[in-house]
């Protein structure tokens, strides 16, 4: 399925704010409830932070990509990179809560690689309780 939104940007901490705002625009168009948007933003922020902190070696420039789509009351967000993949890291500077947090906020989480072998975190968020609709065109 072709995503409704694809955002590619440099994997830098300050760029996560751009991702969060893009998700806000996406949520506005699909009338995603504010509480659900907060969960989505937090989960995607964690996934992007993992890319920024872990995907690329120190000083190595790298890209991250965020793809979002909406289908049948379910929002899918994929965060991917072209770095060294998801692996244990004893010297991790973080608390190690990111993936647990994502798992708690999303309906499903898949870690792995896309069809082109890029590292990918795929999250789905159900909006079934309050069905999304395009602004001005829905119920």
């Amino acid at each position: 399925m072709t995503p409704d939104m694809e955002l590619a940007l440099e994997a830098r901490a300050e760029n996560i704010a751009i991702v969060r705002h893009a998700l806000g625009g996406f949520a506005e168009a699909y009338a995603v409830p504010e509480s659900k948007l907060a969960d989505i933003r937090l989960a995607v922020t964690e996934a992007c932070a993992n890319v920024v902190v872990h995907a690329y070696q120190d000083g190595e420039p790298g890209a991250m990509e965020v793809l979002a789509s909406m289908q049948d009351g379910e929002m899918t967000v994929r965060v991917r990179d072209w770095g060294r993949g998801i692996r244990p890291r004893p010297d991790s500077p973080g608390l190690g809560l990111g993936l647990s947090l994502i798992a708690a906020l999303a309906e499903t989480v898949q870690l792995g690689h896309d069809e082109a072998e890029h590292t990918e975190v795929r999250m789905t968020f159900s909006l079934q309780d309050e069905p999304p609709s395009m602004n001005g065109h829905g119920p």
């Binding site: 955002l7 440099e10 069809e115």
Partner: protein, 138 residues
């Protein structure tokens, strides 16, 4: 679906933000927010930020006649002095049309009034055309 092309991914590592959106209600809210954030981070003053959003509004308002009705691709590159917003993967005709449709009675062409430069050129990788809009941050 392979997402953004490799050359564009390389551009992302050079600080260029690349955005590809389904045509429709998604276009305006996402494009305006992303452009706002990129320019805010580049320390642009509020009045110039408003001008940039006016350009985004004009592009979104006329995209129906100029896109293939499925996807629109943008790239945004900014520093404190200048920003370049490109609308990529257009045909030469649709790129020219997008500029022409930004003309308003008594105002003139909004894009050309607000931007430093508006140019239609060949697309990257030799395919199609792109519209490049350069704005000044001061």
């Amino acid at each position: 679906m392979n997402g953004v092309a490799t050359s564009e991914r390389e551009r992302a590592t050079e600080g260029v933000t690349r955005l590809r959106l389904a045509d429709g209600p998604l276009l305006r809210p996402v494009l305006c927010r992303v452009v706002s954030m990129v320019l805010t981070r580049a320390d642009w003053p509020l009045d110039r930020l408003e001008d940039a959003l006016l350009v985004c509004d004009a592009l979104c308002a006329h995209r129906d006649e100029s896109s293939d009705g499925k996807r629109l691709t943008f790239s945004i590159d900014a520093d404190e002095h200048e920003a370049e917003l490109r609308v990529c993967e257009l045909t030469p005709e649709s790129a020219e049309r997008l500029v022409g449709q930004a003309r308003l009675p008594l105002v003139g062409n909004v894009l050309e009034r607000v931007a430093e430069r508006v140019t239609v050129g060949p697309g990257q990788a030799g395919g199609g055309a792109q519209l490049a809009i350069v704005l000044s941050g001061r």
